[in-house]
């Protein structure tokens, strides 16, 4: 039995919606089969008003054991550090977050907003938003760099806009079944089991990447989206093409460039004019190269790739 409390700050509820798409286990299975006791959730919870506030206070005091505190959405600090632009249950949400994080065994940040600020923290960050332990790439965030939950772990970051339901449910199940000791986190506190490989790993357009065959415009079944359409698959850590979305596909498989939404910089370049769905280049070379590849290597690689490209690579291989 693990008590789970899930709250939302500056959020769109997208991670909740994504979570509800989960199938193995489903949201209901978590409760009926894995003994998750969902103390409260904004879309699913029964408690309200006074009962909810009493429950929150009991979690803070330790009267109710808070095993897992899940937070979705940014911590809103505006105006002037007061947090009054996001009030919840009678006070600024940020005050609840601090007290509950201190009381919990595990703190899980779900989605980009809670991990590093996401869309609401895009310049000029009108709500003065932060993630729980990061703001973009800066370690610290609302709870501070040195924050540790009672288990000794820092905030477990499950980024993505939204996070995939399996990334969420499997971490919850790992914690609830006593496997938290197996969790290994990277420098951004992401579980390595999901975020060590690349979005490109398993992409159906990999052969087109390898032979440098570009999708130069949208609506095509062939071609790699990296060279012209701004795809960040080779530079982004996620299992989007290993653990498929909604069980059937991924953005890059469908033809949409990866936006890099599991990385702290999302949305990249703060969406400045000329940066959306366009590969940023200098002298014809992409400014951001696949991780670990240098410019010289890239030129050699793509030169050889083009020279070796078979004729079929320029034709549709995913045909009607």
């Amino acid at each position: 039995m693990a008590n789970v409390l899930w709250l939302q700050g500056g959020a769109c509820s997208g991670n909740t919606m994504s979570f509800l798409n989960a199938e193995e286990p489903s949201a209901c299975d978590l409760v009926t089969d894995f003994g998750m006791n969902i103390l409260w959730h904004p879309s699913l919870g029964m408690e309200l008003g006074d009962n909810l506030q009493q429950m929150l206070r009991d979690c803070v005091s330790g009267k109710i054991k808070l095993d897992i505190f899940v937070f979705e959405g940014t911590v809103v600090n505006a105006p002037n550090g007061t947090g009054e632009w996001n009030r919840f249950a009678g006070r600024p949400m940020k005050e609840w977050v601090r007290e509950l994080a201190d009381a919990a065994d595990f703190v899980v940040a779900i989605g980009d907003c809670a991990t590093w600020g996401g869309i609401p923290a895009t310049a000029p960050n009108p709500t003065d938003s932060q993630g729980l332990q990061f703001l973009k790439r800066d370690h610290g965030g609302y709870l501070g760099k040195d924050f540790r939950a009672k288990s000794g772990l820092p905030v477990i970051n499950i980024p993505g806009c939204p996070a995939h339901p399996d990334w969420v449910t499997q971490i919850l199940v790992a914690v609830a079944t006593g496997r938290a000791g197996d969790l290994s986190l990277d420098e951004f506190q992401r579980p390595k089991t999901f975020f060590q490989s690349f979005t490109q790993t398993g992409c159906t357009r990999n052969m087109h990447f390898a032979y440098k065959v570009s999708a130069t415009e949208f609506g095509q079944r062939k071609g790699c989206l990296f060279y012209d359409l701004g795809c960040r698959g080779p530079m982004t850590h996620s299992p989007c093409n290993r653990i498929l979305w909604n069980r059937v596909s991924s953005k890059t498989r469908a033809g949409m460039p990866c936006l890099g939404c599991t990385e702290p910089e999302f949305p990249f370049f703060d969406l400045a004019p000329g940066t959306v769905f366009k590969t940023q280049t200098m002298m014809g070379i992409p400014k951001d190269l696949p991780e670990g590849v240098n410019k010289k290597g890239y030129i050699k690689l793509t030169g050889a790739a083009k020279a070796a490209a078979p004729a079929w690579a320029e034709q549709d291989i995913f045909v009607v």
């Binding site: 909740t16 509800l20 105006p79 919840f88 869309i119 009108p126 909604n246 949409m256 959306v276």
Partner: protein, 533 residues
């Protein structure tokens, strides 16, 4: 003897999205005055200023995790009208299919996950249907709760076939869509639809075939259907209706009686050169407004939209303005002052008719009209029920939402038939400056975006969501917002557990989260805080 007015502050109400507080004055067990207060500001319009013209395609789906496809639809059509693009028929169909998939998902998810939980509230334990309701609809453990929540994930698999994932894809772009589905995507989508129909829609929700349900044209037909077979009466729809009547959901939540729909689903051969002016003539589901009191339908035009910030936490000059003239300037100190400013939602108005209600009920009432073109969709059932039942109520508003499954399902089938897999899905547009407007009907109602592109970047971006229409505060002239008005007359059986207030808010499927505190009207002192679910 008349009792003193008791004020209940409900903060938060819960099982709506975002943060909503509701204040109601209760006298003799009935709500006599109400205020709705949106409690979260994220500033999307501010973030979009000076950004890439296409930034809205990335940012606005993230305005709402529930209606992301609807926001994306608006963002794409807004750019199409601003850039004067050509949109091929396949792209129109692929956009419509994504929009419809999101809406189909939302029917069981909202119904079981958010709305029906109220039916197992102890306030209703005297109902003859209570025991059965608990068996079916109790959260997490109810037989149909689990089935309904789980099956709601299926329709968006179709969205993922087009856009890679749901929620939060950006596959709709000016000039078309990013995808080019194959035959196997289409056949898989058909299979998903079939699964949805044979595992939930027909056996659980309707208790009959979709074809039999489609025969229902009038209120009398509906009542006859209900009595025709035990399978109908005992279906989740049948039990909803009978229990709803039994506990009096038909008795409150009337509202303003004025309705708006932008219409949606452009026809694949009528909107290939999209313009703001041409939209009403191109959508399969007609746009319009319906004025209940005078029983009049008429056309709606975006030029008639106004926003009034008198009671909203913004400092902006002048009276009600068109969204193109908004500056989105939030106040720093958002203290609730019920005589002054008290919400992050603006009052959205029609230039002539003031506040209007948005949502499935509004749409269905518009579909019953005679103002549309001959080829556009028409369905008079909900309008007939509205007239027979003496106007709107919580019962009818939520029925209208679930009734939409009828055309949503059929329109999805139509999309799958009409895609021509060997024809283009995208025509690369030329980027240019200009003003655009994109609209749709999200499952919870009228949604639209205005964009003004100048010097290759966004000068102004404005969004009006269905909840902005519905949850808006009073106008400068004092007219209550739609939910505020709908709360008037609501009976409160137990002021310590005012589930009825939650019912009204949730019948609008408002996108906000609420709580209830109770105040003594005379001293303003807080008496108690109550749960409403």
């Amino acid at each position: 003897m008349t009792e003193a007015v008791q004020t209940l502050d409900i903060s938060p109400v819960g099982r709506v999205e975002g943060d909503l507080d509701v204040r109601v004055d209760v006298q003799d067990g009935v709500v006599v005055n109400a205020w709705t207060q949106a409690e979260l500001f994220r500033g999307f319009e501010i973030i979009l200023r000076d950004k890439d013209p296409q930034a809205g395609l990335v940012v606005t789906p993230r305005a709402c995790g529930i209606c992301g496809a609807s926001h994306l639809t608006c963002a794409a059509w807004a750019l199409d009208t601003a850039w004067q693009t050509e949109v091929p028929r396949n792209a129109i169909i692929a956009r419509n299919l994504g929009q419809l998939a999101e809406s189909l998902q939302s029917l069981p998810r909202h119904h079981y996950g958010l709305f029906m939980i109220d039916m197992v509230n102890k306030n209703y334990r005297d109902s003859q249907y209570y025991e059965e309701a608990v068996k079916r609809w109790a959260p997490f453990t109810g037989k149909h709760y689990e089935l309904g929540v789980t099956i709601s994930g299926r329709p968006v698999e179709i969205y993922a076939l087009l856009g890679g994932q749901w929620p939060h894809s950006s596959y709709m772009v000016p000039g078309g869509v990013m995808c080019a589905p194959t035959l196997s995507d289409v056949t898989r989508a058909w299979s998903i639809l079939e699964h949805f129909r044979t595992n939930w829609l027909e056996p659980v929700w309707l208790g009959c075939s979709l074809e039999r349900y489609e025969e229902i044209q009038t209120y009398d037909d509906f009542m006859a259907w209900l009595d025709e077979r035990p399978e109908h009466a005992n279906s989740d729809l049948g039990l909803y209706w009978r229990m709803g009547m039994d506990v009096g959901l038909d008795k409150f939540g009337k509202g303003l009686g004025k309705y708006i729909s932008w219409g949606y689903l452009p026809h694949e051969e009528k909107y290939n050169r999209p313009t703001i002016e041409g939209r009403n003539h191109a959508v399969q589901m007609p746009s319009g407004i319906y004025l209940g009191e005078s029983d009049v339908h008429m056309n709606m035009d975006q030029a008639m939209a106004r926003e009034d910030v008198t009671h909203a936490w913004y400092e902006e000059q002048g009276g009600p303005v068109h969204p193109f003239d908004r500056t989105t300037n939030p106040v720093v100190h958002n203290q609730g002052d019920f005589g002054g400013k008290y919400s992050w939602a603006t009052a959205v108005l029609h230039s002539e008719y003031g506040h209007l209600e948005a949502g499935p009920l509004a749409r269905e009432l518009v579909y019953g009209g005679d103002h549309m073109e001959d080829w556009q969709y028409r369905d008079g059932l909900v309008l007939d029920m509205y007239k027979n039942l003496g106007g709107a109520s919580v019962l009818l508003r939520h029925f209208a939402r679930m009734h939409e499954v009828k055309y949503i399902y059929r329109m999805m089938e139509r999309c799958l038939r009409e895609l021509r897999l060997n024809e283009p899905f995208y025509v690369k547009p030329k980027e240019r400056d200009g003003r655009g407007w994109g609209a749709t009907e999200a499952i919870r109602g009228a949604l639209c975006h205005w964009i003004d592109v100048e010097g290759g970047k966004i000068k102004n971006y404005q969004i009006i969501a269905p909840t902005t229409w519905n949850v808006g505060p009073r106008t400068g002239e004092g007219e209550r917002g739609p939910i505020e008005e709908a709360l008037i007359g609501t009976p409160i059986k137990d002021p310590k557990d005012p589930v009825e207030v939650g019912h009204v808010a949730r019948s609008y499927d408002s996108c906000l989260v609420c709580t209830v505190h109770a105040h003594d009207a005379k001293t303003g002192e807080e008496l108690a805080r109550f749960r409403t679910a």
